[in-house]
């Protein structure tokens, strides 16, 4: 399933991350997953939240650069080899992984992963076909 991810520019300054999550808290936004990619100079914070559009508006209002990016939610067995099986499907279909990170879902016995592939539609299609898709949006956004 394709889901909405918030991508946020994080300036390399003390307290920047904190101020971002505080803005989300003030606006009653629930974060279900996050990851940060950082360089020596700046970072990109990626978030899965319950209300992506509201979150974007609130951050923008505060002068923070934010974008909504489409990513694929991948559901797999919460057992050894789970991630490998999913990635095998991606690899076999000649899709590149731009980035990925683990996410928290509600479905018992399953693990959740957020994937940003080089080809979004194709990745979604092949993963769904292989049984790694089909997630209830509520499970991911925790609505």
């Amino acid at each position: 399933m394709i889901i909405k991810q918030l991508s946020v520019f994080v300036e390399n300054k003390k307290g920047r991350l904190l101020s971002i999550v505080e803005i989300l808290a003030e606006n009653d936004i629930d974060i279900s997953s996050l990851s940060i990619a950082d360089t020596a100079d700046f970072g990109v914070l990626r978030l899965i939240v319950d209300k992506p559009n509201e979150a974007k508006a609130a951050l923008k209002e505060a002068g923070i650069v934010v974008k909504i990016t489409d990513v694929v939610a991948v559901v797999m067995e919460d057992a050894p080899g789970g991630v490998a099986a999913a990635l095998r499907v991606v690899y076999d279909n000649d899709i590149d992984v731009e980035y990925m990170y683990a996410a928290i879902g509600k479905t018992t016995g399953k693990a959740l992963m957020v994937l940003r592939p080089s080809d979004l539609e194709k990745a979604e299609e092949v993963l769904t076909k292989a049984g790694f898709g089909a997630v209830n949006p509520g499970d991911i956004y925790r609505i």
């Binding site: 991810q5 991508s7 520019f9 300036e11 390399n12 300054k13 920047r16 990619a37 950082d38 360089t39 100079d41 700046f42 990109v44 990626r46 002068g63 923070i64 650069v65 934010v66 974008k67 990016t69 731009e98 980035y99 940003r116």
Partner: protein
Amino acid sequence: MTEPMRHVDIETMPREKLEALQSERLKWQVKRMYENVECFRNRMDEAGLSPKDIHGVEDLHKLPFSYKSDLRDYYPYGLFAVPLTDINRIHASSGTTGKRIVVGYTKKDLDNWADCLVRMLKAIGIDKSDVIHIAYGYGLFTGGLGVHCGAEKLGATVIPISTGNTSLQIQTLVDLKATVLCCTPSYALYLGEEIERQGLKDQICLKMGIFGAEPWTEEMRKQIEAKLGIKAYDIYGLSEIMGPGVGCECEAQAGMHVWEDHFIPEIIDPETCEVLPKGSVGELVFTTITKEGFPLIRYRTRDICQLNYEKCECGRTHVRMRKPQGRYDDMIIIRGVNVFPSQVEEVLLKVSEGNITPNYQIVVGRENNIDTLEVNVEMSEELFADDVKSIERIERTITENLRSMLGIGAKVNLVNPKSITRSEGKAVRVIDNRHLV
């Protein structure tokens, strides 16, 4: 429809006639300044010159220069050419480049000043039906009152809002339906962004704007025009010479006309002080030939400029000055290399393909006796991507372009939007932490 000119005979005067007029006025000015201004008299005497040696504009190059430091050395009234009883108004410059300076105007000076502005306003098609929102600073700064008096003389509706309080500015633009905006270009851009952000663009009635008091680029003009949906005109001025309106664009937007019946501009080589051939780039120098209260002969502006003597398509014969390409004072020397903020701006505009507000700040420091150069660039939604690689590519492109433009390396920092100090008057473009004496 183009407005009729304020003074058709003067504004379209053939050069020969214009020079004859300048010659008469120059002689008058030199004589009275010699009699009334001690500093000028001393310099003339030192150069072995008497007012009789000046027969016309052809002798202008013989006259001694005057400098910003004169205004400080003779502070407050030492350079005035009339007694204080004849001075009608005082202005003072904030001194972005040093100590405060004071200038004075007689009744006639104020009239002439307003007239210069009326000429400009008409030259860009403004008439008495326009509502002019003046967000230049009022008070001792010449910007606000200067444009104000011209706009009033034209008979337009003037809103003297002055600077500051952006939300009030926007509310006023919406409520009072101003058609003309006057402010600094960086503030115009900021207003444009705020108006866009608040979704009020369709409630703004602006047709055009007159922007000056700080350097700006053609790309900034395009951005302002697009963001506010207006035509953006350039105005040039400095308190020492008069204030806003020393130079100003006409509808052709092809250089700023300098009203040569009041001011004679020259371009000189700042090193040798020789007058350069027409069309050369050099330091802009002004002589005021009608100013009574605070006249200056060959005043060194420190602005890097170029003059175009060709007749303009608007029909005016008065010389056009190019937008100053920087100031010799703004030049920073980093590791022995001359760096102008305008060069950095050029790189950023190129890299962003005109997409991003060119807000940046140059920070110069010194570590282990070596100069360091950092350029802070504000991140924008257009530049941002969700993957680190793309952002790093932009950072690298800016760094590489800066290196080839400046000839030295610079460290580029991407910072949050609107995090760089945007003064509602002038933008702080350079921070020099070297504290060299």
